[in-house]
Structures are given as C-alpha cells and as structure tokens.
C-alpha cells in the first residue's frame, strides 16, 4: 500500500510546471529540456508500473488512499471524498499511452519559440492532469482532473494556434464544459444515492462516497434513492437511471467525440499547434472513451445492456460520417481530424458489443489509435512547419524529395487504415468481431462498420497518391523548402512507428493487461 508511484506520475509534471513558471526568463532555453526530462522520467516510471503490474488480478493495483474531504451534511450523513488512485487493466494501457504520447509531445514542442515559459508550464500542467484523470478512481478526483485539463488546453490552443485559434479555443472550451456539467449532474446524483458500507457502519451514519469500487456495487445503493437500480424511479417520465446514462453518454460523447457532438474537434485540431494536436488526438479523446467504459457502462450496467444499441449506433454513424467527411477534406489536418472521429467510432462499437473481444478490442483500438493519430498529426506538422500550408492539392510527389518522411507516412497511413501487423488492423478486427459475436447487436451494424474500413482505405490511399506519388511539385515554388526529416522528427516518427509495429505484431502486450479486468467488467452485465 505504501506506494507513491501514481502520485509521482501526477505531481512530477505539476511540480515541473511550477518550477518553469518561477524560473527567470534568462533560463528560457532550458524550459524545453525541463519538460523533456520530466516526460522521460514519467515514462520510465510508467514502464516500471507496467512491469510490476499483476496481470492475473482484476482489482485495482498500486492503490493510494488518503482521506481528503469529509463534509458533514447534517442528518443526511457525510460526504466523503478521498484522494484515491489505482490502476487496473482498463486504465493501465491508457497510462502507458499517456506516457508515450506526452514524451513525443514534449519533443515536438521543441519547435515552439513563442513564449516558451508559459507554453512549457501549461504543457506540464496538462500532462499532470491527464495522468491524474486516468489514475483517479474516486469520481470527484476524476472529475477534478477532467475539468482541469480544459484550462491548459484552452490556453495552448488559444495562444499558440494558427489563424482562427481564438474561435477554436473558446468552442472547445464551451463544448467540453457543457459535457462535463452533464457528468457533474450524474456525479452529484450518484454520490447521493450510494453509501460506503464499511465507513457507514463504522461511523454510524450514512457516508456518501465517490469511490469507483463502491459505485459499481448495486448493494451499496441507499433504499429510495433516485438512482437505485431496482426501484424504478422516474424523472420526467423517463427512468432515472436511463436519464443519468444519457447525460453521461452525451457528456463523454462530446469529449470522445462522437457524431453529433463532434463539431469542436476539426476546429480545435486544425488550429492547435502540432504538439497540442498530438496530445489532443493521442490522449484527450481517449479520456472520453475511458469515461464511457469506466463510468457510463461501469456504473449503469443494467441500462447500458438495455440501451447499448444507442452507443453502437453513435459509433457506427461516427465511423461512416467521419470517414465520408475525411474523404471530402482538402486540408490534410482536417482530414486527419475527421479520420480520428471515424476511428474512435470503433471504440464505441467494440464497447457496445459487450463481448470479451469487443471490449478488449476497444481498449486496444484506443491504444493503437493514440499512437497512430499522434503520428498522423506529426506528419501534418512536418509539412506545415516547412511551408505553412496544409492543403493536400498543394503538394505532389513528395516521396522523391523526402524518402524518410514518406516511409513514416506510409506506416502512419497504413496503420490507420488497418493493414495487418499495424495497430489499426487489430483494433478494427476485434471490435468488429465483437460486434458480430454480440447477442445484442444485429449483424448489419458491424457490416456498416466494415464499410468504414473501406472508406478509410480510400481516403488514406487517395491522399497518399495525391501527395506523395508522381513528379515532385509544391505550390508557389516551395520545392526548395521540402527537406527531409531532421533528427528530432526522425526520433519522434520512427519511435512511434516502432511502437506501432511492436503493438501490431504483439497485441498481447495490451490484451494481457486488459484481459482479466475486462472479464470482471463484463461480469457486471
């Protein structure tokens, strides 16, 4: 129990952020190194965590629990909020992914020249809160980090973004804030409906808890509470639990994002600077997906089972709609943004299938897409850094001028469109397999999802053909600027490629971790 590894993961970046903030500006060249070193240490810590993770146990491990706030609510009992961290098979892959992507992001941040101090301070703050969000297993703490990610993100997009950054930043902020308010409503309702059995007995009064472990247990619900699973309470003529579930899927659906709540994403991505896009696509979207699994499905399994087709439908619509939109884009970054929406749809489909394959596949897809989308945005960043232009039609035949770059692009594109041995394939394969095996979902849902794979092959290959094949040409005589990758870019793109290939060939690296926990998770349905 005496384990501070998880706390270290959260507080090292936050401490780094404070250090950067208070260092005088004469150290401006060292800020990027501080954020790099912090990210490296964090990744090493995460790898230790990954190594020592017990793959046979479905419970939370490395649990840290400290009493934080005990608020007496008079005769209603006590509101108990804990500083409670832990990892299991569902969030461990996400923590690992965060470690990798945040390191890549901090390498990518080396190109930022404008107001470095503020940038790196915010970046480290964002890193800390992202990891905090994944490892918290107290709903209040989770929500805290979930909300807290917004502010640094808002500033990172709004200050360092391109032309319409301010519009994109405020749109991102308001959309996600609405989402988190919906989650907050459910959080209040849940904590008021659930009591902690041990503490309640010990203290002799009702202890309302936010502990994930207690919230999933139906026996802990207080009789006559609104969200009680067996007493069918109604809100506006809708079952209360269904109401809460819908609030949650809208809330996390905005973050994911799922069609029709996706419109902030293309704006935010297009305007954000490359490292921020990488973090946004690589990790932040996964926070939404993680919320779906852990909170929407984890706390409301009865409703989720009944209404899983809503989630599957949203997933399939996201897949097809995102892909069709990607097909129509002229801006490379926008195309990648829409492809992200499409690929996150598979996560929803896999989860909604409620089969072992599907949910494992969803987690794998989250991990794989995290790596691949980070690569894709780095690719877009490479082109943008050289020409300040991202339109697909402005480039042709880049393969002859930039062979190393083209190799990385090929890995990224094929990884995304689902070539076997690369991560996209396994994720899509397992989620669709789950969809077919599922007793709840009709087969045509999964067939429609397969259409999405075809479409994603179409837009990626078409883009590859338009931009990289043929005779070398770049618009407005910018051919001279198209040098091949420098050392920093090679490190980022090739290490991500290596990670992707390893994960693609050895999917058991993820499945071993998630398997037991997912099995336990599915027992609840």
């Amino acid at each position: 129990m005496n384990n501070f590894l998880l706390s270290a993961l959260i507080f090292l970046p936050i401490a780094g952020s404070v250090v950067v903030l208070f260092l005088p500006s004469t150290f401006r060249d060292s800020f990027r190194w501080i954020s790099l070193i912090v990210s490296v240490i964090n990744l090493l810590n995460i790898l230790t965590l990954y190594n020592n993770f017990d793959r046979q146990v479905s419970n939370y491990q490395f649990v840290e629990q400290h009493e934080w706030i005990r608020m007496s609510l008079g005769n209603l009992g006590v509101l108990s909020i804990d500083y409670l961290l832990g990892v299991d098979g569902i969030n461990m892959p996400m923590v690992l992914l965060s470690g990798i992507i945040l390191l890549i992001g901090s390498i990518s941040s080396f190109t930022i020249e404008y107001r470095q101090k503020a940038y790196h301070s915010l970046y480290l703050l964002l890193s800390g809160s992202i990891i905090g969000c994944f490892v918290s297993i107290d709903f209040f703490l989770f929500f805290l980090f979930f909300e807290f990610m917004l502010l640094p993100m808002y500033f990172l997009i709004g200050i360092w973004g391109s032309e319409h950054r301010e519009y994109a930043a405020i749109k991102f902020f308001i959309y996600t804030l609405v989402g988190s308010i919906l989650i907050l409503i459910v959080m209040i309702g849940l904590s008021m409906s659930v009591k902690d059995p041990f503490f309640s007995q010990e203290m002799g009064r009702t202890v309302h808890t936010f502990d994930f472990r207690q919230l999933t247990d139906f026996n802990n619900f207080i009789p006559h509470s609104i969200l009680h699973p067996y007493e069918k309470q109604m809100i506006f003529g809708v079952p209360a639990r269904l109401f809460a579930f819908i609030l949650l899927i809208v809330g996390f659906g905005i973050k994911l994002p799922s069609v029709p709540f996706h419109t902030w994403l293309p704006d935010a991505h297009v305007e954000a600077p490359t490292p921020v896009s990488v973090v946004l696509a690589g990790i932040l979207l996964k926070v939404g997906a993680y919320g779906f699994i852990r909170i929407a499905y984890g706390f409301f399994p009865d409703i989720a089972y009944q209404f899983t087709y809503i989630v599957a439908g949203a997933g399939v619509i996201s897949i097809i709609y995102g892909a069709l939109n990607a097909l129509a884009q002229e801006d490379l970054k926008k195309m990648i943004a829409y492809s992200s929406i499409s690929h996150m749809g598979f996560v929803l489909l896999g989860l909604a299938s409620l089969t072992l394959e599907g949910v494992n596949g969803a987690i794998y897809q989250m991990f794989g897409h995290g790596l691949v989308s980070a690569m894709l945005f780095l690719v877009a960043g490479v082109i943008y850094d050289r020409t300040y232009n991202r339109l697909i039609k402005n480039f042709r035949g880049l393969s002859s001028a930039m062979p190393y770059f083209t190799l990385a692009v090929a890995v990224a594109f094929f990884g995304a469109l689902g070539l076997p041995t690369l991560p996209g394939f396994m994720g899509e394969f397992f989620t669709i397999l789950g969809g077919f095996q599922s007793e709840i979902l009709p087969n045509w849902v999964s067939m429609l999802a397969m259409l999405g794979i075809v479409l994603s092959a179409a837009y990626f290959l078409w883009t590859l053909q338009r931009m990289f094949f043929g005779t070398f040409w770049a618009n407005s005589n910018q051919e001279g600027k198209m040098q091949d990758l420098d050392f920093r870019e090679i490190v980022m793109l090739y290490s991500l490629s290596a990670f992707s290939i390893i994960i693609g060939i050895f999917p058991s690296l993820i499945f071993d971790i998630s398997g037991v926990s997912v099995k336990a998770f599915l027992n609840g349905f």
């Binding site: 005990r70 503020a118 807290f148 301010e166 308001i174 804030l177 409503i185 809100i235």
Partner: protein, 492 residues
Amino acid sequence: MLEKLSHILFSSRLLLPDLLFGVVFLAIVATIAFSQKLDVERTYRLFNMLMITVLISSGLVFYALFEFYKQDFESVSALFGQLIYLDSISLFFKIIISIASLAVLIHVWVLGYKVVGEFYAIFMALVWGLFIMTMTTNWLMLYVSLELVSICSYILVVFNKEKDNSEAGIKYLLFGATSSAIMLYGISLLYGMTGTLNFVGQEFATFLSQNPTWIVQIAVFMTIGGLLFKLSAVPFHSWTPDVYEATPTPIVAFLSIAPKAAVILVLIRLFSSLSIDFRMIMAIIIMASITIGNFSALWQTNTKRMLGYSTIAHAGFMLVGLLATNPIGIQSTIFYITTYLFITLAAFLLIDLMALKTESYELESLRGLGQQNTFLGLAAVIIMIALVGLPPTVGFTGKLLLFTALWESYQSSGSNMLLVVLIFGLLNTAISIFYYIKIPYYMIFKEPKIGVRYYPIGFIRNGFLLIFLFFIIYLFMSPSGLINLIESLKLA
C-alpha cells in the same frame, strides 16, 4: 420597570461591539463637524487618522465577535423584548460582514482613493445597519435596519459627484424606494393575516397557514421584494449594472457582498418558519436571475458592468440553497456566501488594479496586460474560473454543495421542478464561462496596443490581491474547517 431596565442593560452589554460602531459613527461626525478650515495636509492626516480608527474599531469588533462566538450559545439570547435575537449564526454573519468591510477599507486605502471624512461616518452607519439586520426577527426592526442600510448606500453611491454617477444614484434611489414601499405593503398584509410582527415564532406560522395559499404567496413575495432588491435578484435587479458601472469600485465590492449576506440570513430565518410552499416562486426567481444575469453579461464591454450582471446571476445561485429547504441547503448557502466574499472582493480588486494600470474599465484596454504582467494574468484566470465555478477554486466547491443540497431535496420530495433548476443552473455555468473568460482572454491572447503606457502596481497591492487568491485556492483544498464551523451554527 426595574426588570425592564435590567433587561435593557443586559441586552446592551451583549451588543457592546455593535454599539461601539454607533459611538465611532458619532465620533467621526463630531470630529468633522468641529474641525473646519483645515489645510489640505492636515485634512489628509485627519482622514488617515479616521481610517486607522475605523480599522482598529473594526478589528476590535471582529475580535469581540469572535470571542462571543467561541462561547457556545446553547440558548438564544432574545434581546430588547424579543426585537433582536443574538445567536451564533448572526455572529457568524457579522464576522463575514466585518471581514468584507475591513477588506473594502483596505482596498480604499491601498489604492489611494481620495475620500472625504463623511465617507467613513456613513460607512460605519451602513455596517451598523447590516449588523442589526443579521439579528432581526421582527418586521419592524427589519424595515428599520434595511432603511438604514439603503439610505447609507444611496449616499455612498453618489459620493464622488460625477454626472453618470448621479444618474445611477437617482436610479438606485428610485428603485430602492419603490421596493421598500412594496415591502412595507407586503409586511402590512402579513401583519394583518397573522397579527404578529415576529416572523420566526410559532404564532406566525400557525396564523399564516390559515390563509389562502395564493394570497400568502403574493404577500410574501411583496415582502421579500425589498430584500431581493438588496440581493439584486430578478425582478428587482435593473439598478445593478448602472450603479456598478458608475460607483467607485470599493463601494461596489462592498455592495456586492455585505448587504447580500445580511439579506440571505434574513431570508434563511424567514423561510425556516414559513408554513407555505413558496418553492415555485423561488424557482422562477432563481432561474430568471441566473439567465438574465448571464445572458446580459455576454454583451458587455465594460468590466464593471459585466461584473454587475454577474452578481445578478450569483444572487440566483445564492438562493438555490434556500430552495432546497433542508439543513444542508442552508449550510451550503452560508458556505457559498462565505466563499463568494473572497471571490467577489478579489474580482473587484483585480479590475481596480487593472484600471490603475490602464486607467480604464473597458475590456479593450486590457489587451496584452497579462503578457506584460504575468501575475495579473494568472490572478485573472484564477478569479474568473472561481466565478464560473471550476476547480481548483472554491467556487466549484460552493456550487457543488449547493447542487448536492438541491439534489437531496429533489430526492426526498420528488418535485421535478427542483431537478429543472439543478440542470438549468449548472448548464448556465457553461454560458457564463463565455464572458468571464473574456477578461483573461483579452489580457493574455490579444497583443498589447502599441504606445500604451502602463503604470506600476506596487508590492502592497499585489500582496493584498494574493491574500484573496490564497483563500480561493486554500478553501478548495481543505474546506472541512469552514464546513464544520458552519455546521456548528445554530439557528434561532
């Protein structure tokens, strides 16, 4: 006769700190009256002396109150023939008001406002009126204290005698007088129905329930009209933006918290003994206040005016706990008020500091200020997200507690209306982010105008702001102390 005299003596002794305010008020008035034809330097020295007197007396009162508070008030002391109730909750609110006035006086001092001596006298009287208001359970005393507060506020608002200032003053006066009249009418109706002036007694509740509900609702609504005016809640809000824009900032800061705290305590006392269902009207007032406040603030280009609309929205949030009509609702209201004290005072201090740098309250003038002065930029972010109610600030804890209370009330009563208010109120915070974030947005995102001269702020002023920021964060990190304190309060 002798008994009555000894009762009065006993009562006066318990109210010594309050009476001290009266003495100081008279002393200041006397000093000003008898010291004519002073040269400027001596006048300023006199003002400084007055300032210090006020600060020390506030400090003394504060300390005395605290000592009072520490003794456990098991029984409520009904003073002056039950006209005044001294209980722990009123002492708590007096402490809040003392802190607010102290902070406002320091605000006046560190920002170097040139005020005349009468300011202090009137300010003293205003605080005194608020103190009486926290203890009153009698319609007559309530009206008297409310008028004392109102008249002092009218004068303070027009203190610097500028043109738009007097326009705002007239508006304030007219609206105030009208709502006082409405309140008086409501009180007379209630007195006619119940035959008692004491509004917390059993008698009041019993007689009230014998009347038709809708008549009682109308009478109560009219009665709280005067209180809602002080709270700047809809439909008695329309004076707020004009007055806030035209009045010196420290006075606005004071008006945005101290009278509201006192009024909320009166409402808490009233609603805890109200025997009719008043929730529907409350729900409408709350939703209207939050919506009108937030939506009107969206279009503002003047920071003070924007904060004026924001206080209308916050008045709605303050009432949410009363709508919940359970003990935790009351506690969370008190918690919200206490924390809002720090947030709102900080917000007004912030815009005043920024105005000191740029000599303007317009949003446009804030361009690039955060880039030039990182501390102000950071402070703006913290204060504004505290006003929205986002973690890691105490604004979040306050809203969380309020809506937890509302949920609990919904769970036990099953009234859908409460859930509507809950969802409505929370979604409104997403609208409010749009205008609150404008201040840090202009400060940090926009490039500074070329050739603008910034004035330095100075260490003491920054330090003063830092104290508020500390409380905004600290109370989020460990709210337990304050919550336990509030829980131990006993209502008469």
